[in-house]
Symmetry: C2
Subunit: 485 residues, 2 copies
């Protein structure tokens, strides 16, 4: 990794932050982002910079960075574009290590903006200061309780997924898919115009980051395609990189140009090159977010043979169709394995894969069924597809008030079983190195009282198709890694 | 419509229900379904039938249907398969109008089961009694507070979508997509083996149902393909039919055979014929559920030109790519329209479609922007794509406890604006007959305090791609209807 990139440590783990453009004006980013930083629980020093105020949000404000008494690792910029160079000079004099330039109005507005942007980078690089942005929504590093970013009151937990996105909004939505599942973030960056540090350089940084297990990224423009692919190839040898590419079509490229001023690279050729470099390509925000989250706390499938267990036959049909359509194999089970299953399941069970549990509620059967499949050597991944419709606490309450008996007790019992069951299955899956993919449309994030940060809880998929796609992506990544080693 | 099908009125709107196989044994379907019926608030008479009990769940129990004093419109069967024929005789003697046979163990288990199933249908038809099932999970009709079905404590609200599914689990999941969005159900049936009434007959019934605006269906087996297509063609001339077909691949067909004993029809030919009959084909549970919900409270787009408004450039790139890839047109806006937009938007706005609002929070700009597009005559549909990451009440609470100021007030204000804004936009869209598609990953079902049953609130999509797919499906349906009329 480029020595320069080591300075990103000051972006994600600063001991102190100067906030240039801090304000109490409720609709300005200088308020919203500062507020996120403060409410997020950051424990280092925060120095608001604003020449017109004595205090901001209860903190002493400084007229400029030069006046701040202590050392500063990170400066956040939310001042207008025309003030950024001057503020940057101040930071350089002060010896600030890193800058997070939220401010927009640079390259994306045309030549004048591009000139200022280039000057900004020149100044920073000469001084050995690293810059994130400009035209971005900030960064986060939950382990350090650091959230100097735009999404209001959004403070995800520490986790194992690293995020790099040229769009702040898409960054939030990608992270949302992990958060919904109870997973968290190692480090996330809205990289904006990438004047100093490019996407592939963040990947290289995250490849060295011990907290990051998988990288997911949204890119619109790649000015140096060759370097992008070289870096990507290095990184994918160590960690999966899940990519969503914006600007795949002419209209998309046009939209990207006015967004980040990006010059997009041609679609199909680039996609082919990415695949060769081991990058996992996705085609929607949800697919990217969920596929990345699938890698967390789960071994890789060593092939494409899938064992499907369902709590109801229809899901088995859906899964068999979809697996076949995306190139997975519905595993043929041996007579021996079917015999073992037959001993566990009711008389009217029809032997085969998918394995329809018939009685979907019974976790005491489910666990040994999963175990038989995992130990059979006949499947590379096990899917358990569960029924369910969304139900919220208030709906359950409403139902209780209805006529008849209160059966929410059943629900609670099922839920406890599920948490317990997942804990046991997690160790089995790691022991046997056969991954398990559970899909249920029941919203476990509200219904389950189980701990979410126990490190062994894998993503539960909200639909059959996402689970199938995750098996496929992970199996392909396994094949890629195997071919390279 | 076949006169026989009129008897389905007794299935969805019975004045009284006999429950054959009622029990207090907590894990049996005879308990779970009865309990759903009772907790759902059904106001007609309910007569539990069980020869071994005096009372069940506080209601007087009867040893057989014959002993019940009053008239009976609907009999629900949860007794074992071998007892069904005898119970059915009792119903016929008693003059019961309709039967809902939950019980499994018929055609799906082979020849013996098929024989009993055929006998059951013969008996019922001779007596003029209509049968739903067997091997199904029940029905619901929220308008009548009727929920004799399997999904525990799941009581969706009245709405405009009719559901027909050969799998009960998939039925629940389809409905779940509407419920999450605050929409409801007109009538829903888990049709099981369809011994008496086939999917296409339910469509014909729902085509006449004034409460149903759109039909969505999951089918695995279609014994009479010709009749299916004939009926479908009739129905699609009046209402959209959204179809998810299980058993598109060899493995899917195999799984279907052991599930409902269905003989599947060949994939591609069938799909082509469906398209010709105006059926909207989908390929995942989510796509089917969301596409159907998209039709509710929204006019059809009269063409494929889309105006895209975003609160952030990245979403515009994603939407432009995806629209292009699925055959929609990112509309070219005239100088005049761009000029009108320019007067509203900030100086640094880059004219074009997608229209990036730059300041995403400002609903006072959003509404006139939508109006300009709708009135321009240059777009057939308007999309508004909004940022967001999921946030739940408890997360906001947790954030409040953090350091700094409480800004959850901002959140509440945004949310109120959104509800208000949606009400205004709904009338505009119906007046101008240009549909609006809003996508946001913010979970409006928990965060919004707005009423959900005001009838003018359309589905809010949870991702860009679903919204694009809905525009496409609805534009195609419009073209189909136009070509036929």
């Amino acid at each position: 990794m480029d020595q320069r990139l080591k300075n990103l440590d000051y972006v994600f783990g600063p001991r102190s932050v100067a906030f240039i453009g801090a304000t109490e004006s409720m609709r300005k980013w200088g308020f919203l982002i500062l507020n996120n930083l403060l409410t997020g629980g950051y424990e280092g020093e925060v120095y608001p910079v604003n020449p017109n105020r004595e205090t901001i949000l209860g903190l002493r404000a400084y007229p400029s960075v030069r006046e701040i008494p202590g050392e500063i690792d990170l400066a956040v910029f939310t001042v207008p574009a025309r003030q950024v160079l001057d503020a940057l000079s101040g930071c350089i004099e002060k010896g600030v290590k890193a800058g997070l330039v939220i401010t927009a109005g640079f390259k994306e507005l045309g030549e004048d903006g591009a000139r200022v942007e280039a000057e900004m980078v020149r100044m920073a690089r000469d001084a050995g200061m690293i810059l994130v942005g400009p035209n971005c929504q900030g960064v986060c590093c939950p382990k350090n309780r650091l959230y100097p970013w735009m999404p209001i009151l959004f403070h995800p937990s520490p986790g194992k997924i690293g995020y790099v996105a040229q769009s702040g909004n898409i960054l939030n939505m990608l992270i949302g898919h992990a958060v919904k599942a109870g997973l968290g973030v190692s480090k996330a960056v809205s990289s904006g115009n990438e004047a100093d540090v490019a996407s592939e350089e963040y990947y290289a940084y995250l490849a060295e980051d011990p907290d990051t297990e998988v990288i997911v990224s949204y890119v619109e423009g790649i000015p140096d395609g060759r370097r992008f692919l070289e870096y990507a190839r290095e990184v994918t040898a160590r960690k999966p990189v899940v990519l969503l590419k914006g600007g795949r079509t002419g209209k998309g490229v046009e939209a990207a140009r006015s967004h980040t001023g990006a010059m997009a690279v041609s679609g199909r050729l680039f996609e082919a090159a990415c695949r060769q470099a081991g990058v996992i390509l996705t085609h929607s925000i949800e697919e990217a977010g969920v596929t990345a989250a699938a890698f967390v706390n789960r071994p890789l499938p060593r092939g494409k043979r899938v064992g499907i267990i369902t709590g109801g036959g229809g899901l088995g049909v859906i899964a068999s169709d979809f697996c076949t359509e995306i190139g997975l194999e519905v595993a043929a089970l041996s007579e021996r394995t079917l015999g073992e299953l037959e001993r566990l399941l009711p008389d009217w069970w029809v032997p085969g894969n998918p394995v329809d549990l018939v009685a979907g509620l019974d976790f005491t059967i489910l666990k040994p069924v999963i175990e038989i499949l995992m130990k059979s050597g006949e499947v590379d991944a096990v899917m358990f597809l569960w029924i369910g419709a969304p139900r919220r606490a208030e709906e359950i309450e409403a139902a209780k008030r209805g006529r008849g008996m209160d059966i929410s007790a059943i629900w609670k019992i099922m839920d406890q079983h599920f948490v317990e069951f997942h804990r046991e299955l997690s160790s089995l899956m790691h022991e046997l190195q056969v991954p398990l993919y559970v899909a249920t449309s029941i919203d476990l994030s509200t219904d389950s009282g189980g701990s979410r940060d126990d490190g062994c809880r894998p993503l539960v998929f909200s639909d059959v198709e996402s689970a199938c796609r995750a098996v496929s992506a992970m199996a392909e990544y396994h094949a890629y890694r195997a071919a390279r080693s």
